[in-house]
Symmetry: C2
Subunit: 154 residues, 2 copies
DNA sequence: TATTGTTATACTCTATAACTATA
DNA sequence: TATAGTTATAGAGTATAACAATA
Protein backbone atom coordinates (compact mmCIF):
# COMPACT_ATOMS: atom_id res chain seq x y z
CA UNK A 1 0.00 0.00 0.00
CA UNK A 2 2.62 2.52 1.02
CA UNK A 3 4.84 1.11 -1.73
CA UNK A 4 2.54 2.39 -4.41
CA UNK A 5 2.19 5.79 -2.90
CA UNK A 6 5.73 7.10 -3.19
CA UNK A 7 6.05 5.69 -6.67
CA UNK A 8 2.89 7.33 -7.87
CA UNK A 9 4.43 10.54 -6.61
CA UNK A 10 7.62 10.07 -8.62
CA UNK A 11 5.82 9.95 -11.96
CA UNK A 12 4.55 13.55 -11.86
CA UNK A 13 8.01 14.68 -10.75
CA UNK A 14 9.55 13.05 -13.79
CA UNK A 15 7.00 14.76 -15.99
CA UNK A 16 7.84 18.08 -14.37
CA UNK A 17 11.54 17.41 -14.88
CA UNK A 18 10.95 16.67 -18.52
CA UNK A 19 9.04 19.89 -18.93
CA UNK A 20 11.77 21.97 -17.30
CA UNK A 21 14.50 20.32 -19.31
CA UNK A 22 12.73 20.39 -22.66
CA UNK A 23 10.77 23.59 -22.56
CA UNK A 24 12.83 26.16 -20.67
CA UNK A 25 15.18 26.84 -23.57
CA UNK A 26 18.03 25.90 -21.24
CA UNK A 27 20.05 24.59 -24.15
CA UNK A 28 19.48 27.61 -26.36
CA UNK A 29 20.31 29.97 -23.52
CA UNK A 30 23.55 28.20 -22.76
CA UNK A 31 24.52 28.20 -26.43
CA UNK A 32 23.82 31.90 -26.70
CA UNK A 33 25.79 32.60 -23.55
CA UNK A 34 28.91 30.87 -24.83
CA UNK A 35 28.45 31.98 -28.44
CA UNK A 36 27.70 28.68 -30.16
CA UNK A 37 25.78 29.22 -33.43
CA UNK A 38 23.98 25.85 -33.54
CA UNK A 39 20.59 24.25 -33.13
CA UNK A 40 19.85 21.52 -30.58
CA UNK A 41 20.77 18.44 -32.59
CA UNK A 42 23.96 20.08 -33.78
CA UNK A 43 24.89 20.79 -30.20
CA UNK A 44 24.12 17.23 -29.22
CA UNK A 45 26.57 15.97 -31.82
CA UNK A 46 29.19 18.35 -30.47
CA UNK A 47 28.63 17.26 -26.87
CA UNK A 48 28.65 13.61 -27.88
CA UNK A 49 32.10 14.06 -29.37
CA UNK A 50 33.32 16.02 -26.36
CA UNK A 51 32.18 13.34 -23.95
CA UNK A 52 33.66 10.54 -26.06
CA UNK A 53 37.10 12.14 -25.76
CA UNK A 54 38.18 10.68 -29.08
CA UNK A 55 37.19 10.94 -32.74
CA UNK A 56 34.06 8.96 -33.61
CA UNK A 57 32.68 7.52 -36.80
CA UNK A 58 29.39 8.90 -38.07
CA UNK A 59 27.72 5.63 -37.15
CA UNK A 60 29.11 5.73 -33.63
CA UNK A 61 27.73 9.23 -33.10
CA UNK A 62 24.33 8.10 -34.35
CA UNK A 63 24.35 5.07 -32.03
CA UNK A 64 25.23 7.18 -28.99
CA UNK A 65 22.55 9.73 -29.81
CA UNK A 66 20.10 6.95 -30.62
CA UNK A 67 19.25 8.52 -33.93
CA UNK A 68 19.64 7.40 -37.50
CA UNK A 69 22.69 8.02 -39.67
CA UNK A 70 21.35 10.66 -42.06
CA UNK A 71 20.36 12.84 -39.13
CA UNK A 72 23.99 13.04 -38.02
CA UNK A 73 25.32 13.63 -41.53
CA UNK A 74 23.01 16.54 -41.93
CA UNK A 75 24.17 18.33 -38.80
CA UNK A 76 27.81 17.62 -39.48
CA UNK A 77 27.52 20.07 -42.37
CA UNK A 78 26.68 22.92 -39.99
CA UNK A 79 29.39 21.86 -37.56
CA UNK A 80 32.01 21.75 -40.29
CA UNK A 81 30.95 25.08 -41.73
CA UNK A 82 31.31 26.61 -38.24
CA UNK A 83 34.75 25.00 -38.02
CA UNK A 84 33.81 23.07 -34.89
CA UNK A 85 34.51 19.59 -36.27
CA UNK A 86 36.59 18.05 -39.04
CA UNK A 87 35.85 14.90 -41.06
CA UNK A 88 38.80 12.72 -41.98
CA UNK A 89 38.84 9.39 -43.78
CA UNK A 90 39.30 6.48 -41.40
CA UNK A 91 42.73 5.03 -42.23
CA UNK A 92 41.45 1.54 -41.31
CA UNK A 93 38.43 1.67 -43.65
CA UNK A 94 38.19 3.94 -46.65
CA UNK A 95 34.39 3.88 -46.49
CA UNK A 96 34.23 5.37 -43.02
CA UNK A 97 34.78 8.91 -41.80
CA UNK A 98 36.27 9.86 -38.45
CA UNK A 99 34.77 13.00 -37.00
CA UNK A 100 37.02 14.94 -34.65
CA UNK A 101 36.62 18.19 -32.75
CA UNK A 102 38.68 21.18 -33.81
CA UNK A 103 40.26 23.23 -31.03
CA UNK A 104 37.38 25.67 -31.39
CA UNK A 105 34.87 22.81 -31.15
CA UNK A 106 36.52 21.36 -28.07
CA UNK A 107 36.54 24.76 -26.39
CA UNK A 108 32.93 25.53 -27.30
CA UNK A 109 31.66 22.17 -26.05
CA UNK A 110 33.64 22.57 -22.84
CA UNK A 111 32.31 26.06 -22.16
CA UNK A 112 28.77 24.87 -22.89
CA UNK A 113 29.02 22.00 -20.43
CA UNK A 114 30.56 24.26 -17.78
CA UNK A 115 27.67 26.70 -18.18
CA UNK A 116 25.00 24.03 -17.82
CA UNK A 117 26.87 22.46 -14.94
CA UNK A 118 27.05 25.86 -13.25
CA UNK A 119 23.27 26.21 -13.43
CA UNK A 120 22.74 22.77 -11.95
CA UNK A 121 25.30 23.50 -9.25
CA UNK A 122 23.42 26.69 -8.45
CA UNK A 123 20.18 24.74 -8.15
CA UNK A 124 21.57 22.49 -5.40
CA UNK A 125 23.96 24.89 -3.70
CA UNK A 126 21.84 24.86 -0.54
CA UNK A 127 21.87 21.07 -0.32
CA UNK A 128 24.07 19.21 2.11
CA UNK A 129 26.96 17.33 0.51
CA UNK A 130 25.36 14.09 1.72
CA UNK A 131 22.07 14.83 -0.04
CA UNK A 132 23.87 15.68 -3.26
CA UNK A 133 25.85 12.49 -3.03
CA UNK A 134 22.76 10.42 -2.25
CA UNK A 135 20.75 11.97 -5.05
CA UNK A 136 23.53 11.33 -7.53
CA UNK A 137 23.77 7.65 -6.72
CA UNK A 138 20.03 7.02 -6.55
CA UNK A 139 19.48 8.84 -9.84
CA UNK A 140 22.19 6.82 -11.51
CA UNK A 141 20.73 3.62 -10.15
CA UNK A 142 17.25 4.61 -11.23
CA UNK A 143 18.29 5.30 -14.80
CA UNK A 144 20.18 2.03 -14.99
CA UNK A 145 17.25 0.03 -13.61
CA UNK A 146 14.78 1.84 -15.84
CA UNK A 147 16.90 1.12 -18.90
CA UNK A 148 16.97 -2.54 -17.94
CA UNK A 149 13.20 -2.58 -17.42
CA UNK A 150 12.64 -0.99 -20.81
CA UNK A 151 14.95 -3.52 -22.43
CA UNK A 152 12.75 -6.24 -20.88
CA UNK A 153 9.77 -4.93 -22.81
CA UNK A 154 11.25 -6.23 -26.04
CA UNK B 1 36.65 19.81 -4.80
CA UNK B 2 34.50 16.80 -3.95
CA UNK B 3 31.45 19.05 -4.31
CA UNK B 4 32.05 19.49 -8.00
CA UNK B 5 32.64 15.82 -8.58
CA UNK B 6 29.25 14.39 -7.69
CA UNK B 7 27.50 17.17 -9.56
CA UNK B 8 29.50 16.62 -12.70
CA UNK B 9 28.37 13.03 -12.43
CA UNK B 10 24.68 13.95 -12.25
CA UNK B 11 24.68 15.74 -15.58
CA UNK B 12 25.41 12.65 -17.70
CA UNK B 13 22.78 10.75 -15.72
CA UNK B 14 20.19 13.36 -16.58
CA UNK B 15 21.17 13.10 -20.23
CA UNK B 16 20.81 9.32 -20.06
CA UNK B 17 17.43 9.71 -18.41
CA UNK B 18 16.29 12.06 -21.14
CA UNK B 19 17.41 9.59 -23.78
CA UNK B 20 15.54 6.68 -22.16
CA UNK B 21 12.39 8.70 -21.68
CA UNK B 22 12.33 10.32 -25.11
CA UNK B 23 13.73 7.65 -27.36
CA UNK B 24 12.48 4.31 -26.05
CA UNK B 25 8.97 4.71 -27.46
CA UNK B 26 7.70 4.17 -23.91
CA UNK B 27 4.72 6.40 -24.58
CA UNK B 28 3.79 4.75 -27.87
CA UNK B 29 4.15 1.29 -26.35
CA UNK B 30 1.89 2.18 -23.44
CA UNK B 31 -0.70 3.68 -25.80
CA UNK B 32 -0.65 0.59 -27.96
CA UNK B 33 -0.98 -1.66 -24.93
CA UNK B 34 -4.09 0.12 -23.67
CA UNK B 35 -5.53 0.77 -27.12
CA UNK B 36 -5.29 4.55 -27.33
CA UNK B 37 -5.23 5.73 -30.98
CA UNK B 38 -3.31 8.99 -30.44
CA UNK B 39 0.04 10.63 -31.02
CA UNK B 40 2.22 12.00 -28.22
CA UNK B 41 0.85 15.52 -27.96
CA UNK B 42 -2.70 14.21 -28.07
CA UNK B 43 -1.91 11.89 -25.22
CA UNK B 44 -0.32 14.72 -23.26
CA UNK B 45 -3.54 16.71 -23.53
CA UNK B 46 -5.48 13.69 -22.30
CA UNK B 47 -3.15 13.12 -19.35
CA UNK B 48 -3.18 16.82 -18.49
CA UNK B 49 -6.96 16.68 -18.20
CA UNK B 50 -6.83 13.46 -16.20
CA UNK B 51 -4.36 14.90 -13.71
CA UNK B 52 -6.29 18.15 -13.39
CA UNK B 53 -9.35 16.21 -12.23
CA UNK B 54 -11.71 18.85 -13.59
CA UNK B 55 -12.60 20.36 -16.97
CA UNK B 56 -10.03 22.86 -18.23
CA UNK B 57 -10.16 25.71 -20.68
CA UNK B 58 -8.05 25.45 -23.81
CA UNK B 59 -5.77 28.16 -22.46
CA UNK B 60 -5.32 26.31 -19.18
CA UNK B 61 -4.31 23.14 -20.98
CA UNK B 62 -1.79 25.08 -23.05
CA UNK B 63 -0.34 26.71 -19.94
CA UNK B 64 0.08 23.41 -18.14
CA UNK B 65 1.70 21.80 -21.17
CA UNK B 66 3.80 24.92 -21.72
CA UNK B 67 2.76 25.07 -25.34
CA UNK B 68 0.90 27.63 -27.35
CA UNK B 69 -2.88 27.69 -27.83
CA UNK B 70 -3.18 26.59 -31.45
CA UNK B 71 -1.20 23.48 -30.67
CA UNK B 72 -3.86 22.38 -28.20
CA UNK B 73 -6.75 23.26 -30.48
CA UNK B 74 -5.27 21.12 -33.17
CA UNK B 75 -5.03 18.00 -31.05
CA UNK B 76 -8.43 18.50 -29.51
CA UNK B 77 -9.86 17.65 -32.93
CA UNK B 78 -8.38 14.16 -32.77
CA UNK B 79 -9.45 13.70 -29.17
CA UNK B 80 -13.00 14.72 -29.95
CA UNK B 81 -13.16 12.52 -33.02
CA UNK B 82 -12.03 9.57 -30.86
CA UNK B 83 -14.73 10.51 -28.35
CA UNK B 84 -12.18 10.94 -25.56
CA UNK B 85 -13.02 14.56 -24.75
CA UNK B 86 -15.94 16.93 -25.19
CA UNK B 87 -15.86 20.70 -25.68
CA UNK B 88 -18.61 22.71 -24.00
CA UNK B 89 -19.07 26.47 -23.85
CA UNK B 90 -17.94 27.93 -20.52
CA UNK B 91 -21.13 29.23 -18.85
CA UNK B 92 -19.11 32.02 -17.22
CA UNK B 93 -17.62 33.31 -20.46
CA UNK B 94 -19.12 32.68 -23.87
CA UNK B 95 -15.72 33.08 -25.54
CA UNK B 96 -14.15 30.22 -23.66
CA UNK B 97 -14.53 26.47 -24.07
CA UNK B 98 -14.36 23.97 -21.26
CA UNK B 99 -12.76 20.70 -22.26
CA UNK B 100 -13.85 17.69 -20.27
CA UNK B 101 -13.02 14.00 -20.44
CA UNK B 102 -15.67 11.57 -21.59
CA UNK B 103 -15.99 8.34 -19.62
CA UNK B 104 -13.95 6.67 -22.35
CA UNK B 105 -11.31 9.38 -22.10
CA UNK B 106 -11.10 9.11 -18.34
CA UNK B 107 -10.74 5.35 -18.55
CA UNK B 108 -8.11 5.49 -21.30
CA UNK B 109 -6.01 8.06 -19.45
CA UNK B 110 -6.26 6.05 -16.25
CA UNK B 111 -5.20 2.81 -17.91
CA UNK B 112 -2.32 4.59 -19.61
CA UNK B 113 -1.03 6.03 -16.34
CA UNK B 114 -1.37 2.69 -14.60
CA UNK B 115 0.65 1.02 -17.34
CA UNK B 116 3.47 3.54 -17.16
CA UNK B 117 3.41 3.43 -13.38
CA UNK B 118 3.64 -0.34 -13.51
CA UNK B 119 6.81 -0.14 -15.59
CA UNK B 120 8.38 2.33 -13.21
CA UNK B 121 7.36 0.20 -10.27
CA UNK B 122 8.98 -2.77 -11.94
CA UNK B 123 12.18 -0.79 -12.39
CA UNK B 124 12.56 -0.16 -8.64
CA UNK B 125 11.00 -3.33 -7.27
CA UNK B 126 14.36 -4.44 -5.86
CA UNK B 127 14.87 -1.18 -4.00
CA UNK B 128 14.33 -0.85 -0.28
CA UNK B 129 11.27 1.21 0.68
CA UNK B 130 13.63 3.72 2.28
CA UNK B 131 15.58 4.24 -0.93
CA UNK B 132 12.39 4.69 -2.92
CA UNK B 133 11.15 7.20 -0.40
CA UNK B 134 14.47 9.05 -0.36
CA UNK B 135 14.70 9.13 -4.13
CA UNK B 136 11.18 10.47 -4.42
CA UNK B 137 11.78 13.37 -2.05
CA UNK B 138 15.20 14.29 -3.42
CA UNK B 139 13.89 14.19 -6.99
CA UNK B 140 10.98 16.40 -6.10
CA UNK B 141 13.29 18.82 -4.34
CA UNK B 142 15.69 18.82 -7.25
CA UNK B 143 13.00 19.66 -9.79
CA UNK B 144 11.66 22.45 -7.59
CA UNK B 145 15.11 23.95 -7.04
CA UNK B 146 15.99 23.61 -10.71
CA UNK B 147 12.76 25.34 -11.73
CA UNK B 148 13.60 28.18 -9.36
CA UNK B 149 17.13 28.44 -10.72
CA UNK B 150 15.82 28.57 -14.28
CA UNK B 151 13.34 31.26 -13.30
CA UNK B 152 16.31 33.26 -11.97
CA UNK B 153 17.84 33.30 -15.43
CA UNK B 154 15.14 35.71 -16.63
C1' DT C 1 -10.00 47.75 -27.07
C1' DA C 2 -8.47 43.25 -24.81
C1' DT C 3 -9.10 38.37 -24.55
C1' DT C 4 -10.44 33.33 -25.98
C1' DG C 5 -10.04 30.38 -29.28
C1' DT C 6 -9.52 28.79 -34.27
C1' DT C 7 -7.51 28.47 -38.96
C1' DA C 8 -3.63 28.72 -41.98
C1' DT C 9 1.10 28.49 -42.53
C1' DA C 10 6.03 27.74 -41.53
C1' DC C 11 9.91 25.93 -39.03
C1' DT C 12 12.53 22.29 -36.31
C1' DC C 13 13.67 17.60 -35.44
C1' DT C 14 13.94 12.97 -36.98
C1' DA C 15 12.80 9.01 -40.04
C1' DT C 16 12.68 6.21 -44.49
C1' DA C 17 14.20 5.37 -49.21
C1' DA C 18 17.38 5.55 -52.87
C1' DC C 19 22.05 6.02 -53.99
C1' DT C 20 27.57 6.01 -54.01
C1' DA C 21 31.83 4.18 -52.57
C1' DT C 22 34.38 0.94 -50.64
C1' DA C 23 34.89 -3.81 -48.48
C1' DT D 1 26.93 -9.03 -51.70
C1' DA D 2 27.25 -6.29 -47.35
C1' DT D 3 28.58 -2.06 -45.00
C1' DA D 4 29.54 3.32 -44.20
C1' DG D 5 27.99 7.30 -45.39
C1' DT D 6 25.31 10.80 -48.15
C1' DT D 7 21.34 12.97 -50.57
C1' DA D 8 16.48 13.61 -51.10
C1' DT D 9 12.14 13.42 -49.26
C1' DA D 10 8.44 12.81 -45.83
C1' DG D 11 6.30 13.01 -41.29
C1' DA D 12 5.66 14.49 -36.40
C1' DG D 13 5.70 18.29 -33.18
C1' DT D 14 5.39 23.08 -32.21
C1' DA D 15 5.44 28.09 -33.30
C1' DT D 16 3.83 32.60 -35.45
C1' DA D 17 0.38 35.34 -37.89
C1' DA D 18 -4.18 36.53 -39.18
C1' DC D 19 -8.76 36.16 -37.92
C1' DA D 20 -13.60 35.52 -35.41
C1' DA D 21 -16.39 36.03 -31.52
C1' DT D 22 -17.25 37.76 -27.10
C1' DA D 23 -16.00 40.68 -23.08
Amino acid sequence: MSEGLDLAAVLPQLMRLGTVLNRSHLIERAMEQVGIPLDRPGLTVLVTLRMADRPLRVGEIAARMEVVGPHVTRHLHDLERADLVRRVVDPDDQRARLVELTDAGFGAASRYLETILGWFTGAVEDWSPEDRQTFGSLLSRFVTDLQARVADLD
